[in-house]
Symmetry: C2
Subunit: 194 residues, 2 copies
DNA sequence: GTCCTTAAGAAACGGTTCGTTTCCTAAAAC
DNA sequence: GTTTTAGGAAACGAACCGTTTCTTAAGGAC
């Protein structure tokens, strides 16, 4: 038969695409090695040669082609930047995003779970730092340094809501920004109370 | 044979105990209907008559005997109360607690997931309110009302850390209290900056 | 005490996915 | 052209699934 046989990156890319397709179509729980093998038109043995568990395979497909999923917005105001950041993250973590992240976290060995945690926690503070610096330059915030733990607050609260509770609406985002993040940043940066 | 046959509450209690035992011994993922039936010395049919899914069975065993898992501490200071609250919650959510909660959330139908979310989010603000009121009476905080969203901050940050990241140490708890919660409460309650 | 309804418990079922193994052969390296 | 590597097909025993059937205790009605 005139069948051609893929190898290396071609094959791997086809597998990752099949994993993504299965995830979007059926979700994490219903994804199986057999289903992925069928969708990628390959065999289970090919998958098991690469990844020991379903969670490792899914995580690999998430980290393929190092996507920079969240960018720091620049809207011209502190509230605008924070709102936009949380809206973007809200979309990213909702629906299948939540399903996949919780699925991997609860299904896997400590190594993969640790890598997943790193992925979703890593840039929490760094993504907010430029927002705060620009707000400081505009005079919206004072000049005292804000500790890393506090800089991570917007992403920490977003994660708590979207992964553990439900997708946020604009009111929820507005509350987080207006009632928690901005007042805390003002206080810590030494800006006079308004 | 002199076998006796349990019914009603006796049987249900034995099943719940078996579920708890299996969870502690093997974790959520490795828990099976067959294993629970064996541990409780009953049959699978008895379990399926009561709960449609593993997640529903586990959730039922968690909510049996309405345990009041977290109490509001009263240590005499705002920082002391918050620290104690987070330490208690840290223990509750860690290790098997995380495994079970994430397992149920990622494994189940929307109804059980919703009930689980209610359980872990419900009292987040209310458990903190008496702490703030006492701190206000002592003069540690001002008198402006603190919005519910901000009152939930300690439990929101705890949940984010313990369920999604890892068990906290005392430094982490101290950071949450000292860098986020107390400054925000001071700001929102209108207390003069120290 | 006897009858009658309910549900416990044992056992077996067909089905799905698991993780592994065997075998053949296409693709790449040399 | 020869050798090495790895893709792909197929089959495997095992575990658990969710359901069904059947027997027989338990507990209430009278």
């Amino acid at each position: 038969m005139g069948t051609t046989r893929r190898r290396g990156e071609d094959l791997e890319a086809a597998i990752h695409a099949a994993v993504q397709g299965q995830l979007m179509e059926h979700g994490y729980a219903a994804l199986t090695f057999e289903g992925v093998a069928a969708a990628a038109e390959t065999s289970k043995a090919v998958l098991y040669r690469r990844w020991p568990t379903k969670a490792a395979m899914v995580f690999a497909s998430m980290t393929d082609k190092d996507k920079a999923p969240l960018a720091t917005p620049d809207t011209g105001s502190l509230v605008g930047d924070l709102t936009q950041l949380l809206r973007d993250g809200n979309e990213l973590f909702s629906y299948r995003g939540r399903d996949i992240i919780l699925g991997v976290l609860s299904d896997t060995d400590e190594d993969t779970a640790h890598a997943m945690r790193e992925m979703i926690f890593r840039r929490s503070a760094e993504i907010v730092r430029p927002i705060v610096e620009r707000a400081c330059a505009r005079g919206e915030l004072g000049t005292d340094p804000i500790p890393t733990r506090a800089l991570a607050l917007p992403m920490d609260l977003l994660r708590n809501e979207t992964l553990l509770r439900r997708k946020l609406d604009d009111d929820g985002i507005g509350e987080i920004v207006g009632v928690c993040v901005v007042p805390l940043f003002e206080k810590l940066s030494g800006r006079d109370a308004g």
